[in-house]
Symmetry: D2
Subunit: 423 residues, 4 copies
Amino acid sequence: MKPMATFQRVESQVRSYSRSFPKVFDKALGATIYDIDERAYTDFLAGCSTLNYGHNDPDLKAALIEYVSANGIAHGLDMFTDAKEHFLATFERLILKPRGMGHHVQFTGPTGANAVEAALKLARKVTGRTNVIAFTNGFHGVTLGALAATGNSKHRDGAATPLSGVSRAAYDGYFGADIDTADMLERQLSDPSSGFDAPAAIIVETVQGEGGLNAASAEWLGKVQAIARKHGALFIIDDIQAGCGRTGGFFSFDGMGLSPDIVTLAKSLSGMGLPLALTLIKPEFDIWKPAEHNGTFRGNNHAFVTAAAALDKFWADDQFQNAVARKAQYLAERLMAIADRHDLSIKGRGMMLGVDAGSGEQAEAICKACFAEGLIIETSGSFDEVVKVLAPLTISNEQFAAGLDVLEASFEAVLGSHRAAAE
Amino acid sequence: MKPMATFQRVESQVRSYSRSFPKVFDKALGATIYDIDERAYTDFLAGCSTLNYGHNDPDLKAALIEYVSANGIAHGLDMFTDAKEHFLATFERLILKPRGMGHHVQFTGPTGANAVEAALKLARKVTGRTNVIAFTNGFHGVTLGALAATGNSKHRDGAATPLSGVSRAAYDGYFGADIDTADMLERQLSDPSSGFDAPAAIIVETVQGEGGLNAASAEWLGKVQAIARKHGALFIIDDIQAGCGRTGGFFSFDGMGLSPDIVTLAKSLSGMGLPLALTLIKPEFDIWKPAEHNGTFRGNNHAFVTAAAALDKFWADDQFQNAVARKAQYLAERLMAIADRHDLSIKGRGMMLGVDAGSGEQAEAICKACFAEGLIIETSGSFDEVVKVLAPLTISNEQFAAGLDVLEASFEAVLGSHRAAAE
Amino acid sequence: MKPMATFQRVESQVRSYSRSFPKVFDKALGATIYDIDERAYTDFLAGCSTLNYGHNDPDLKAALIEYVSANGIAHGLDMFTDAKEHFLATFERLILKPRGMGHHVQFTGPTGANAVEAALKLARKVTGRTNVIAFTNGFHGVTLGALAATGNSKHRDGAATPLSGVSRAAYDGYFGADIDTADMLERQLSDPSSGFDAPAAIIVETVQGEGGLNAASAEWLGKVQAIARKHGALFIIDDIQAGCGRTGGFFSFDGMGLSPDIVTLAKSLSGMGLPLALTLIKPEFDIWKPAEHNGTFRGNNHAFVTAAAALDKFWADDQFQNAVARKAQYLAERLMAIADRHDLSIKGRGMMLGVDAGSGEQAEAICKACFAEGLIIETSGSFDEVVKVLAPLTISNEQFAAGLDVLEASFEAVLGSHRAAAE
Amino acid sequence: MKPMATFQRVESQVRSYSRSFPKVFDKALGATIYDIDERAYTDFLAGCSTLNYGHNDPDLKAALIEYVSANGIAHGLDMFTDAKEHFLATFERLILKPRGMGHHVQFTGPTGANAVEAALKLARKVTGRTNVIAFTNGFHGVTLGALAATGNSKHRDGAATPLSGVSRAAYDGYFGADIDTADMLERQLSDPSSGFDAPAAIIVETVQGEGGLNAASAEWLGKVQAIARKHGALFIIDDIQAGCGRTGGFFSFDGMGLSPDIVTLAKSLSGMGLPLALTLIKPEFDIWKPAEHNGTFRGNNHAFVTAAAALDKFWADDQFQNAVARKAQYLAERLMAIADRHDLSIKGRGMMLGVDAGSGEQAEAICKACFAEGLIIETSGSFDEVVKVLAPLTISNEQFAAGLDVLEASFEAVLGSHRAAAE
């Protein structure tokens, strides 16, 4: 096939998802994505949680087309634009104010990694310290500053140079249910001879999207926040994958009584998959000099337009949130049934849920079986052992159920046969 | 004014261009940008060379609207999509093949910094070395890996942690016309006791867009490439600001007889200001493991669509290139006249030209005077002393001339009065 | 007093022990040290375990005087000398061979820190990895490479630059008796996404001399060695303070069934307090190039002479070792009695034993009270809370008992009064 | 031979000088060193300038024996001792006061590298900056902090980890006589976009002992000092190899009108080759906290005794200095003659002089020829191309002349034949 040949010839070996899903796709709507042979696939990957509202939401699409048609500014560096103002005002009104958050909004280069880089730089500036505490299995991006905080060795090795400036702590539950890793961190930071330098920041995901869908408890997160405060460090929540509704609320930490000093957002923020990232900063820590952290595409106005439209459509009242909660409940029930059937365990929280398939090989086989049946789904975890459901939050109940049926059957097909082989 | 209040209240202090141009803009077409009071401004900033084809080029805009309307995939991670295939095939046909370049194309996170991070990581992987040679006044981005290669101290200080992994060499002409800085570099790398560790890469801009429009000669660049080869380092051209036609050819090094191992592109690549970045890699160095360098927005399909349209429109034959050459000639004449009149010198190459105004204060005053007359223009250089013309390459002759008239008058207004004050 | 004025005027503020013991000393013999007013002090500091055989042992002294008198070479760079040969042959015969150790001996610059620097550099060379695992409360020296492995924040802050290349693990018992920190380390190193980079080495003290006399169990050390082996890291025992008989055997790990790849020695090695340090390396890891790690004073021949004499005198048979064991037993009984009396706990192993006085203030007050009574003794630990007995191993039973009487009385004087104050 | 077998079997491969001089030495007096077969060698290596007063100077030896015999304290940590007081008072009276230097004296671990580590750490503490400027071909030691400042790639590679915290500048004359490298450094530091971070310190040797006997002019050093002052950096002279009389005065910068903020000394300081190192610090920069930089052997009292005796003997009046000047003059004449004869050039200053033999191979052959004739001499330089004369400053005129005769003949033997071979 000609398109395949182009990719083989011209694209870098670094490509990855195209290896799991070796089709050429061209159109997408809602939870469905189509290949050039017009076959439809249900999308349980959703751009790794970038398409929480599905593909090409009609209202977002309409807003974008209207804006472009009217010669709205596409690229504005960080100049004031109407579209940016509208996004900021909407974000303030629907997201920040209702939560009592007075954070400033920094538009960074439009990648999550860039938002993390900005967060870490700022925390170091504010505190005059260089050490950052990050957690086992954390994923924060692959540019050198963010990568130092990322746990995954494949990505770390990609730096091909030592990564520094980060001390590693154990995530909630890392050493089992009986060991409180927050207490361990407190012990280390309180001991002046522990070798843990006083931190500029503690950066944490509430659910580790790449690291295996480990979900921290509100209590543990509260302890970590308190530790940060006590030791003069900024408390940063990287909400890039878990935020924007994925776990239920707009922020993954909604309702937990937390008050992070910095929050990073990206992925589903623009609502339509357009590149957009931001770093929320408590005003007292917004000590940036003009342009000290900059970037060409920090004014992606198309994304401002769709992002504002998404906020207006989904976050103006509780309806969407309630619907997501119901879907999450349903998802949990379905995955629990699968897990029970195969003596496995489920991982995650909200609509960010998966099943630990026991090994990377089994998880891969399951995902492959799903794809054969028209379901796009991927793995997560240290050994890629967790089959991860990241369906669009807007998926219809019917399509969701059908997709989960495929998933269930794939577990059966793979683990049934595995068991048979073992017996 | 309400919009201003929103920015004051909600946006981070890090914003910069909005300080120079304190208006709220909403629409733009070609070389003109409009504020919400419908005042028109001529844009000699062009998104810092991101809008080489002007704002909202009608053909690009039409291609985008058509694509979106048809539910084309917006966000595709790094899966195969029709839009990506079309871009790759077009890029290969119109750009790579005619130049005999067999480079692979890596889609990185859609920021120039990310393309640079990928380039430096890969060079370190390929060579097993960690040191990178970068140049005085170079600018490569502000994420930690790219920032280490960037020369600007304001940006470097923003890291708030020491930057490592880069040795600094002097750019062409840095120590005056009589000193060959390439020879100096060769001397240092050939001396096993010089303290310059064997480099993984030498990264260079052919014209330093942020660093003061210093333009390297083809001869010097050739020497630097030869030094890289001799010492086992990859030769990387960062063509993010100078590429995509800004200096005349598609690549800023067209016609120089160079063969860079890696090239980074971003800014004007998408043609319409949409975030897109890529790293071109000679196949023998494309040793990435799948996903080793990844990023959520590396499949920005809207940008693929407009980028392919831009290549088709502007680079299928010589017309555009010839027109740019004529405009560059005209620009040089106009700036030369200004420089002569005020005993100043001009900097840069092609449509990336400026006048060293003697000091940052004078340059700022000139830009301010321009803005009052409806011309958006910015500075560059170690002391922001160069008034930099980055007009859209597609600007009409009339608008170009009128803009340069404003510029000329502003020099007169500021430097005339300065001289008067001095006398 | 004139001498004091000289120090005040000329010596750097960095001096420390002279603040605890503000007298000018001039002579010393065995376990006694004299000030210039001829007052005698019992030395329970012993040069921080550098004078395990006491001051000016008559046989060592005689050997040195004889050597100097005969114009023996004092300084030999790393040329072959008779004195070095004699030391090497003796060390091989009495120390290495009986233990079945085939290690090569590297003479580094004559400081413990330098031996550690050599060990870490070599482990990185051997493995091609840069990360080193070091432990909470570890102390390995204050030059930049060794300091990165050191836990103490006062010393770390002295670098005034971030320290890198070390991941921190928890020492035996760090999180209490119920948590096996070796299992934790194994978990982290086996998890490819833990953020612990594959280590070049694990470096450990069997007893943490500066870190509070924490003593690792043989079982835990065996586990750590096995972890190092499993993960391709070199296992380094830093035996600088605990070695040379301090804990009973020549090496602190004698009889534990361990086989460290690298061992560092210094402090008491020369037997008389002369600067000498070495790094023992298993032959298969001795891949140094000639002079790759060098240093002017790595051939301190005076120290070779006394070191060989010390080995001959104390380590040719079991007598010394048995005597040390008896003294250690006595010491443990005496300190246990003190600890019981004040509801405190004892720390350490062998003749490297102390009492956790509950706080740094109390420990300091106790040491001060001792000094007033002619006993020199110091503290250790994260908060300097451990009163540490490091008497010469050769101290007479009578002087040892008398010194411990003073110590006991000082605990009584300080903690009695503290309790009285609290009541 | 038995001793050789011991070294082969037990000593690490890192040994180096023993490869050039494969004999076992046992005694030494003045400028003569003897092997165990009683063959005498003239020592033009002098412990790499550690034995400026020759081997076993009778007065120093007597002082040491007397001190040891009387049970003088050998090892005193950093407690006040009579021997230290005597050294400090003598150093102040004979060295500091006459030069109007009010520097404090820090006793570091007794290696030059350790003195450099202390200097760099302190400069970073004082300035709050991390970057240090060091020069091409500089040598400052091989522990990680000092090694970062060292230029030699063999030593740098030994770290097996990237070295950071140092920017490299070109030494006096590095780019030829016509290029003022101090002006280049000033240009780079004055340019906020040069990529040279504001430095904590500039560290320089006045003559590069290991780097090829490059000698900086007083004018250039004065410029560098002024640059340091202007840019808020401490000016550090590493006088470890060039100091203690080697270039004529006690400090190598005597009479140059310089006022370094920090000076490091080691090598010949103890006068007899015993390990001793110190860091001289202007009082206003002596902001160390107690023990912030420490080390077990910083109180090597034997070395204090011989160091004070050496100062008294050689530096109480001008006699020694004048004699050294005469010898240096004679040396220059002899080497000039050799250089002229073979169309070579001489390098260095004072009694730290050599001949650039054209290549490392030739230099090695010459040294080998010398050794065959009983002369110990070594090379220096990026390619080990400089034959370096480091005779004891106290060598008799007769022995000096005879040694130089051997050197002259060896040049003839090697370069004569080389030329013959070439013809």
